[in-house]
């Protein structure tokens, strides 16, 4: 609970620091603040409970995931100073919005009441609308913001409608009450409809097929750092929330619900990867890749055993790999008119180390062993196979094979083509972040227990 308050306070602090003209201190202060909050958050790992009339419900799930969110935000903010170098006046806004967004995210995984959930998701969404459109002068950025806004608020409407139906059916917004009602008494049919609408709203947020259409366009149009935020932080938050909602709200694992999830997962994995094959824009490609990973992560809803752990592991691995790639993309795509793969040409020769980072991160996403991505897929699929959905596993495997096709496009560009551009030195912060993330990737790959047993 205090985590949420602290994060919100930190956001306000950012704005205050700007007022006191200490612009340069914003990023360090925020990082320190976030690290402190992270420390605090970890310390409450064992003191769990509910707060404010069950408005907040802190359990291991929420602590573990909010820690992950905080870490991701820290990484993003670390890079934001360098990223917003040419727009120094706006930096406090950008940092503050990200911190608020984090607050929304934390609210989303630790809600005890649907009102809290609604507020969280709206805070998150509104922050993202702003961030997506934050490059005011770029039509692309505007378009991205607008598209995201239109579709996002449409989805919000649906979520809201779902919440209203749930409320109508159970007479409460409180999770425990709802849970009790749905597991003890009979409930009207519209309850299921409400749940499904909420779930669909979240599927929209994680960009699962067929609610994924916004993602490529928005990812492409938004500034790179925002894309990174959306594809890592926002996606992870949304997935975690979806998981929590589905586990609590959906009464029993009905076949129909499973069927929906299976179809959505299969469609996401296949379509995401197939569409990614034909992309030239790196951000767009990663958007489709993100869609397919969303499909993978959605599969956790099917499994009963250990699923939260596996989701956390998968999300961590996905975020770590994604952030490492974005750290390099920030540098490579800096001041480029187009963001095509060609920009990576010859990168292997000019920057062998960073090329290695990108390569390993892509391999991790493709699921090649010793990198965490492989373990994530392994743990996930090994549970899914137990549910009996072998078709799903086969589709997952096939889509993994397809994914190699486009991940390797970047690798091929880096190692087989010659660069046409002159060398510029890479900002130190990107380099350090990229390498640390690589180390983290390998570390959680070699020692999966680090992450895997956090939520029991």
């Amino acid at each position: 609970m205090n985590t949420l308050i602290a994060i919100s306070g930190l956001g306000v602090l950012c704005l205050l620091v700007e007022m006191f003209n200490a612009r340069k201190a914003i990023v360090p202060i925020t990082i320190l603040g976030l690290l402190a909050i992270l420390g605090y958050n970890i310390s409450v790992y064992n003191t769990l409970g509910t707060f404010y009339n069950n408005m907040m419900l802190v359990d291991r799930f929420s602590v573990a995931f909010s820690s992950l969110f905080i870490v991701i935000t820290t990484v993003l903010i670390t890079m934001s100073h360098e990223f917003y170098k040419d727009r120094p006046t706006k930096i406090s806004d950008f940092v503050a919005i990200k911190v608020f967004m984090l607050a929304g995210g934390v609210a989303m995984v630790s809600f005890g009441n649907l009102a809290m959930f609604f507020l969280g998701i709206e805070v998150l969404s509104i922050s993202l609308y702003i961030l997506a459109a934050s490059n005011r002068l770029s039509l692309k950025s505007n378009e991205a913001g607008m598209k995201y806004f239109l579709m996002g608020s449409f989805a919000s409407g649906i979520i809201l409608f779902g919440i209203a139906l749930i409320y109508g059916a159970t007479g409460s917004f409180d999770l425990t009450t709802i849970y009790q009602v749905t597991h003890t008494a009979s409930y009207p049919q519209w309850y299921i409809i409400g749940t499904i609408m909420v779930v669909i709203g979240m599927l929209f947020k994680i960009a699962a097929v067929p609610f994924h259409f916004w993602a490529p366009d928005v990812y492409e149009g938004a500034p790179a750092l925002t894309t990174a935020t959306m594809s890592t932080l926002a996606k992870v938050i949304a997935v975690a929330t979806l998981y929590k909602l589905a586990i609590i709200l959906v009464p029993g694992q009905t076949y129909a619900f499973q069927m929906i999830i299976v179809v959505v997962a299969m469609a996401s994995m296949l379509l995401g990867n197939i569409m990614a094959l034909r992309q030239n824009n790196v951000k767009r490609m990663l958007a489709f890749s993100g869609i397919s990973h969303a499909g993978f992560m959605v599969m956790t809803l099917l499994i009963s055993n250990n699923s939260a752990n596996i989701l956390l592991y998968y999300a961590t691995s996905y975020a770590v790999a994604g952030l490492a790639i974005f750290a390099v993309i920030f540098y490579v795509m800096k001041d480029k008119e187009n963001e095509t793969i060609d920009n990576f040409n010859g990168f292997g020769k000019t920057h062998p180390l960073l090329a290695a980072v990108v390569t390993t991160s892509l391999l991790s996403m493709a699921g090649i062993p010793i990198l965490s991505g492989f373990f994530a897929k392994f743990f996930l699929l090994s549970q899914v196979i137990q549910t009996g959905w072998i078709v799903l596993v086969i589709v997952a495997i096939i889509s993994s094979i397809i994914s190699v096709g486009y991940y390797f496009k970047i690798i091929l560009a880096m190692y087989t083509k010659d660069s046409e551009q002159e060398l510029t030195s890479i900002p130190l912060v990107y380099k350090i972040v990229a390498i640390l993330l690589l180390v983290a990737n390998i570390a959680i790959g070699l020692m999966p227990n680090l992450v895997l047993n956090l939520i029991s």
Binding site: P352, P369, F378, I385, T416, K417, N453
Partner: protein, 479 residues
Amino acid sequence: MNVSFILILLLFGAIATYFAGDKLAKTVALVFSLASAVFSVYILNLHQAGINPSFISQWITNPNVFIALQVDGLSLAMLLLTTFLTTIIIFSSFGNQYNNSKTFYALVLFMSFAMIGTFLSADAFLYYIFWELALIPIYFIALVWGNGDVEERKRAIIKFFIFTLAGSLFMLVAFIYLFQKAGSLMLSDLYAVRLTSQEQFWIFLAFFLAYAIKIPIFPFHTWQANTYQKAPAVGTMLLSGIMLKMGLYSVIRWQLPIAPIAAKTYMNIFIALSVVGVVYGSIVALKQRNLKKLLAYSSLAHVGLIAAGAYSLSVDGLRGAVLQMIAHGFVVVGLFFAAEVIERRFQTQEIAEMGGIRIQDSKFASLFMIVMLASVALPSTFNFVGEFTLLYSLYNVNIWFAIIAGTTIILGAVYMLNMFKNVMLGDKDSRVFAVVTTQEIIVFVVIIAVLLFFGMYPKPISDLVTPPLQEIVGRINRL
């Protein structure tokens, strides 16, 4: 000291090579590979002395995954093959100049590391990791240091990568399924799982997909020729000499004992496929104009025979397969090295542009010829021992398998002698062929010495691998 040291040594070697810099890289790499070879002999000694140098430790508690490196005669044979061949391969590349050689040699050692891991692993999870890991370095070796047009190379190599990855992912599914059944992926636990014949069939098939692509068995071979052609000599040697043995080894170690009922029920189909590969590879090789491609297809024919022997499910077949794996490993490295020696001088792989070499360098001609004769399994070479045992095991299954597969000894002679005639003989001294260097001769001599020695006295290897093979066959037959 246990066997894990060899993995650490090679991994450390790869890192050391990278940091040794471009000039020293190859020497450092050679030293480490030699050290690993020496150490593997030490392991052999331990094994012979009755000490078990295996290594087991828990890695991940939930799910249950072990770092288990098991040493028995079979894995030891493959270990020795890998370390010795890696040393030879690294040494053979001393005549080449590679850009960024520190990375190159680091990758070679890393690949050796991964392949050894594959051969030693007794936990399927670990095994799978090493299996996939071996793919990464060869991908980069072939891609970055390969030859020919970049676009074509890219296409060939991505095809190779996706193919092999696709196959192995299906194997992964099988392992995941087994994991759910057995609760652990230790080899012994997997052996103990009771599966219905339906389950076994699917698992067998999933394994087959992975191994058939790796080995390769017809019709999963289409990646092979192009990849061999485009890869640099070292890459081709690693691929054909060691890496495809991973597939064959896995058939023996994993596929057959885990799904014995399926193996027994469908063995004829799989033998037939392998045998078709033998004939098909030989016939396609007849008309190849590119030397490395020709050797690739000949390799297809040879490994098809090995696979057929392995699927014959008899001790003879398995032993023949292992012997031939080792023999083929050496011989194919020798052949590709000969192609490389020519390419170093003529800058071509096209057979039509060669010829008249024997006049200029009879030493090289003799060395090449001995290796070539070994590859067509002339008696008294190691390959004959393997091929004879394999054909005999096939005969015991069905005489027609032996006869059809046996055509390889005719067709093999046809394309190999044709190749030799067009490449080496004749009177066409328009191009100058610089005499082979001492370093090149050493490579050939070592390979030939191995082939001839074990050709006359295969007993040490045969005795080494027989007990584990008997155990495996016993397991297959018991169920």
